[in-house]
Symmetry: C2
Subunit: 227 residues, 2 copies
Amino acid sequence: MKSGDARAGSCDICDVRERSICMDLDPRAMQQVEKTMARRTVAKHRAILSEGEPNDSLYIVLRGSFRLSKLLEDGRRQVTGFIFEGDFLGVRQTDQSAYTAEALEDSLVCCFPHKFLDEAAETSPGVKDRLIAKGQTEYHKAQDHIVLLGKKTAEERVASFMKTLAEAVGEERGGGFVEAPFSMSRQDIADYLGLRLETLSRTLSALKKKGFIDSVTRKSVILKLEL
Amino acid sequence: MKSGDARAGSCDICDVRERSICMDLDPRAMQQVEKTMARRTVAKHRAILSEGEPNDSLYIVLRGSFRLSKLLEDGRRQVTGFIFEGDFLGVRQTDQSAYTAEALEDSLVCCFPHKFLDEAAETSPGVKDRLIAKGQTEYHKAQDHIVLLGKKTAEERVASFMKTLAEAVGEERGGGFVEAPFSMSRQDIADYLGLRLETLSRTLSALKKKGFIDSVTRKSVILKLEL
DNA sequence: CGAGTATTTGAAGATCATCAACTGTCGTGG
DNA sequence: CCACGACAGTTGATGATCTTCAAATACTCG
């Protein structure tokens, strides 16, 4: 066991605890979590949920990021969302997962079987409420995505995406700029925005020329805070 | 009080009971529903939920249909969904409704304050589970909508919509045809599909020419069952 | 019947997609 | 450490789809 994982079994060092469901659990349930809790590493490009396959656990992303996608019969792929640290995966138990969730980089998740959550919910009513709330958040994001795809131009889509990414994972740099790292490829972003790779690339160049983007590489983008 | 409403106060004649949450309620709660239940008529084009405004009740559509929409700052409108008999509106209590819900025709809803549902949930645990399940259904529909907008051509969008509509409200006619009534305008459909009115109209004509659609009027469409 | 609105159709133009070539980046191995 | 190969991303030229603007037709309601 590597040194980084030595204390991995303890919830004390969990970074996302306060955003998570653990704070809803009563002390007894929390002890149970400490004991049975399973962390799981997910290697880059590995799926943790697969479209059409059953899902019986809720995963909380501790480190890394994921890509949610759906496939059309003929192979066209739509990326329906990206998931970052602190976010949830598989909020509900399902016979058929609605989408595939694949790690964009080597990632670490904390695993809560829904069976366990159902039991915990009996003594900790906040658990189900939090799941409902998370489900609502997912739904709102989906609605915003629908507006983006249905009504926005290529430039608006790319700008919206960069802004959202900056809000999710960006870090402030000097002079009113934010830097947001990419864990996803251009193709992933294009598939998320309903555009072709080439259109995305051209649009990024255009936004840079217009000064909205300061610099953009394979790894990250630096953009203006406002707008 | 008109004759049609004479027994409107009774749940006995409710058409959507078995699809609804009432079956999850224990007898005592059900009595409570019978007593406090509020039905509400919603006139054509009236909003029952408004984007940005709080919502404190769950509505079950008994008669009629609704249009869900979101507005972009500059007034562009995206229709994010349509709601028919037996469907739910305002599944969760919110400070800010994510969308506007407007009646497409004179409609009738049954109203359950979330406060009431929370109380009922204490003795009828099935209630929250059903709400979670309904939320999930909404989310899945949103995901399918995302795929439609992100990856499908105009013709595929229109065909998908007609098929979905037929499944939701269609009635079989002879010879492998279904008839689905429209309660929404062409503009509503176009705003749902991320197309312009004119493109929708042209595409409908094209589908008719191809034989996928038998006939289409302002009021209804008749289409082939398969495909 | 007639005014007003909804829908369809036509012609021209814009945006985005496609096909193709080029450039940059990363990792590997000499 | 540099060179090479492979892949990721950018740029260019052309074309298709969908939009826009405009006009005609159909439908609805008083």
